[in-house]
């Protein structure tokens, strides 16, 4: 967009056609638009906010088929409550879930602690309807649990942070709710010991839904794990996860909140911070590269978030990756960068939506 015109937009669409019209107006007028849900994550770049929070309905729910369709602006807690009311579960725990819309959470694509042993959000999005920057309404994927018809464009939405197109309706896969869910945690340990415990708890036959080392005061760290399943399974796992012990409610919920906040890069700002991933067996080496007072969350699958240091070089020298809150990182390899730029160009040729986003967790 060479000249950024003042957008003639009425923020707050309430149906997909309105979203398409507003985007088309922006496209034709070469205006910048920023797609928002509840505004939990302030997107990059300038632009008139276009809120999708008015698209808030659950449009179809088939508990027997383990699927649900929901408009992008539906509050995440509302979706979660409706799903749980039917004994089902969406195994996705995005940061700040209580303040988010469903579309925003998937557009952000930041997986929570459950991505270790449950699901990544990319695996839960079956299909979507959306509007391109030029106002074209389209759908991709499907609303059944298994589908390979056409290209898998829903994957492009997860983590795109509103830079490619607006999703107006999402079709999601659900799972039966675990009968029992408990949080177990260690006492504060020397942080190297905590990482050793984490690596031990990754080994089969143990199967934990989430596994995290969380820094705590005094330069120490605690190991947290989510144990899910039938009572017999949970009891068996708990007995084999020493030195972790069950944390009763409401302390468990408070500890989960700390874990989720500490795992979320954008809640760590201001100050130097980064997030990324290394191979799990290289977490001890990553830990060694951290300053003594750093605040961090390390997950069993190698994902990490660190406040107080930008470990970009350390992560990359360990064969991993890292980004800061601003998305700064080593440039993507040329063919990959060219593909990403061409995809952005094809969806949003006038650059009305925010620019490329390179932090995909």
């Amino acid at each position: 967009v060479s000249t950024v015109a003042q957008p003639r937009l009425v923020p707050g669409a309430t149906d997909p056609i309105q979203v398409a019209r507003l985007l088309r107006d922006a496209h034709n007028g070469r205006c910048k638009v920023k797609l928002l849900g509840h505004g939990t994550t302030v997107g990059d770049g300038a632009g008139t906010p276009l809120s999708l929070a008015g698209l808030g309905r659950i449009t179809r729910f088939q508990p027997d088929d383990l699927t649900i369709s929901v408009q992008a602006g539906c509050p995440f807690p509302q979706l979660r409550a409706e799903v749980e009311r039917h004994g089902l579960w969406l195994p996705f725990d995005p940061p700040d879930a209580g303040q988010r819309t469903v579309g925003g959470a998937f557009a952000d694509g930041v997986a929570g602690a459950l991505a270790f042993g449950a699901q990544h959000p990319r695996d839960l999005l079956l299909g979507l309807s959306g509007a391109l920057a030029d106002g074209t309404l389209f759908k991709t994927g499907s609303r059944v649990v298994k589908n390979v018809a056409g290209y898998d464009l829903p994957k492009l939405f997860v983590g795109s942070r509103g830079t490619l197109f607006a999703a107006t309706e999402l079709h999601l896969r659900l799972y039966p709710a675990p009968r029992v869910r408990v949080l177990i945690a260690s006492e504060p340990l020397a942080r190297e010991d905590a990482v050793r415990v984490l690596l031990a708890l990754r080994r089969p036959p143990l199967r934990l839904a989430a596994l995290t080392v969380l820094s705590v005061e005094g330069g120490k760290a605690r190991v947290l794990a989510e144990v899910l399943g039938d009572a017999a399974v949970v009891a068996w796992l708990e007995a084999r996860c020493a030195p972790l012990r069950r944390v009763e409610e409401p302390a468990a919920e408070e500890l989960r909140a700390v874990r989720d906040r500490q795992s979320f890069l954008r809640s760590c700002t201001p100050g130097p911070a980064c997030s990324g991933a290394v191979l799990p067996t290289r977490l001890p080496a990553l830990l060694a590269a951290m300053p003594a007072g750093a605040e961090f969350a390390l997950h069993g699958d190698g994902r990490f978030t660190v406040l107080g240091a930008e470990l970009l070089d350390a992560a990359e020298s360990l064969g991993g990756r890292a980004t800061t809150a601003a998305g700064r990182r080593t440039a993507l390899p040329a063919p990959v960068a060219a593909l990403a730029a061409a995809i952005k160009q094809t969806f949003d040729p006038h650059g009305c939506l925010p620019g490329l986003w390179t932090n995909h967790q």
């Binding site: 383990l66 074209t136 290209y151 898998d152 796992l237 990403a340």
Partner: protein, 485 residues
């Protein structure tokens, strides 16, 4: 053969040892189609690639000469994905079959695309690991082909499709550049790996693949329940899922399939007086397994199961699965050709859809049997026919088309795991509007701007998509004849 093609072939021959470029008609015959035999096309040549460099060299040469190219693994695809496009060469990847790295501690392996699915699981078994996606063709199909098609299998009800188990891919892009999408630590930026998987070889050629390895379950229990009606088998599946259990597999075979299996080398001891058998597999920790088994057996009993068998040892488990995995092979007894359809419906629609499928088969006077992933609502109606009779072939295609139209009408999909290929080009519009297809076409042009990489697959050609829908049958033929085309 035209001059430009001759020039291309002579350069191709010069680039590789003689035995790795096939051009003789007798050599090319076996490459005319994959498991979808209703469409055949002879390739211009076949290159037997042994490395990423071989693939790059071939793709660059194709680009210089404007020759289309099609990747191929073991040729087990069921939708014509690796069937040669007109004038195309095939790049055969089956020789790229090395397992390059196994990292049991971090739970992944790096493989070449020609590694056979089951060979990978066998190779990592000593670490207590396995590769979860298990298409019925897993003893023959390759990981590269699985990536191209986003293949499924009986166990994807619990463990997901191929896309859930691929961490990264090295790809030779359609212009010959090499890109790594994703990797064992995930990726930055847009999920290009996710879009590449399932692109049916139209976005490039995977030459190195990082796969997730899963720990073997502590215990596996397999059951077979036989029913006097298909409806009772389907109801059992719905009740098992509604009870909160998440079995590793829920598979149903109908009466015709049972009889074909039992008369074949895949005989598994299925009750031949049953209208349907339901194969259920539970896996996971031993704790709680007895309770889950009791719940499943109780549900099947309440739904009137006429027999219930639990595999008591690994040999019995293999036997129960032998019938399911060999079902497609067993169909060969019924007729010379087999058309394996692939459609998906919401699980609750299974009984009505199966009744509709039966009615369609009866109307078209076809032999049709059903083997399907009941947990996913993924149907595989199998039409056994004699392809030498063109009238029968036309009836087979028409019946298939009606079945897929019904799947979409009840909220499902025209394919759950086989892909579009060439088979379903005419059915894509059942699911997608012109705008939907145009968006996909835009993405294809990003990856494959010259259209040389596996052309004529996944999406109908743009002109065809726009014109055929509005053109009465036969008009195009008359017009093209009149214009001398």
């Amino acid at each position: 053969m035209l001059g430009p093609a001759m020039s291309f072939l002579s350069e191709l021959r010069a680039a590789f040892p003689r035995e790795r470029v096939l051009t003789e008609p007798a050599q090319l015959l076996v490459y005319e189609c994959d498991g979808y035999t209703l469409h055949k096309e002879r390739p211009l040549a076949v290159v037997l690639a042994e490395s990423t460099a071989d693939v790059v060299r071939t793709v660059e040469l194709c680009n210089r000469h404007g020759v289309p190219f099609v990747p191929r693994g073991a040729g087990t695809c069921l939708s014509g994905g690796p069937t040669p496009s007109p004038g195309a060469i095939l790049i055969e990847l089956a020789r790229m079959n090395r397992i390059l790295e196994v990292d049991p501690e971090n739970g992944f392996a790096v493989v070449e695309p020609g590694v056979i699915n089951l060979d990978l699981t066998r190779a990592v078994a000593r670490h207590g690991l396995h590769y979860a996606p298990d298409p019925s063709s897993q003893a023959a199909c390759t990981i590269g082909g699985n990536v191209a098609e986003n293949s499924g299998g009986p166990h994807c009800f619990k463990y997901g499709m191929t896309t859930n188990h691929i961490l990264g891919v090295e790809v030779v892009l359609p212009d010959g550049q090499v890109a790594q999408l994703g990797g064992p630590c995930g990726s930055d930026g847009y999920d290009l790996r996710g879009v590449f998987i399932g692109s049916e070889g139209t976005f490039g050629i995977a030459t190195r693949i990082w796969v997730r390895l899963m720990p073997d379950p502590q215990e596996v229990r397999t059951f077979l329940a036989a029913f006097r009606s298909m409806e009772a088998a389907c109801r059992s599946v719905s009740r098992i899922v509604a009870s909160g259990l998440l079995p590793a597999a829920l598979e149903i075979l109908d009466d015709l399939t049972i009889k074909a299996v039992e008369a074949s080398i895949y005989a598994a001891g299925y009750p031949q007086d049953a209208a349907a058998v339901l194969l259920v597999e539970l896996d996971g920790l031993s704790a709680g397994m007895d309770d889950a088994r009791d719940r499943i057996l109780a549900i099947c009993g309440e739904e009137g199961a006429i027999s219930l068998e639990e595999a008591r040892d690994p040999a019995a488990r293999l036997r129960l699965w032998k019938g399911r995995k060999g079902a497609f092979g067993a169909m060969g007894r019924l007729n010379p050709d087999l058309y394996v359809l692939d459609g998906v419906v919401p699980r609750g629609e299974l009984p009505a859809t199966l009744a509709k499928v039966k009615e369609i088969a009866r109307r078209y006077e076809l032999t049709l049997s059903n083997v399907f992933h009941a947990g996913d609502g993924n149907l595989h109606p199998n039409i056994s026919y004699d392809g030498r009779d063109p009238i029968v072939r036309a009836r087979v295609l028409a019946a298939g088309s009606e079945i897929l139209a019904h799947c979409v009408a009840v909220g499902g999909s025209i394919t759950g795991e086989h892909g579009i290929g060439v088979e379903k080009l005419d059915h894509v519009t059942f699911m997608f509007t012109r705008d939907d297809l145009e968006v996909m076409e835009r993405v294809r042009r990003v990856w494959n701007p010259r259209g040389l990489c596996n052309p004529g697959k996944v999406l109908p050609e743009r002109s065809a998509c726009r014109e055929v829908a509005a053109t009465p049958a036969g008009t195009f033929k008359a017009l093209s004849g009149g214009l001398g085309l």
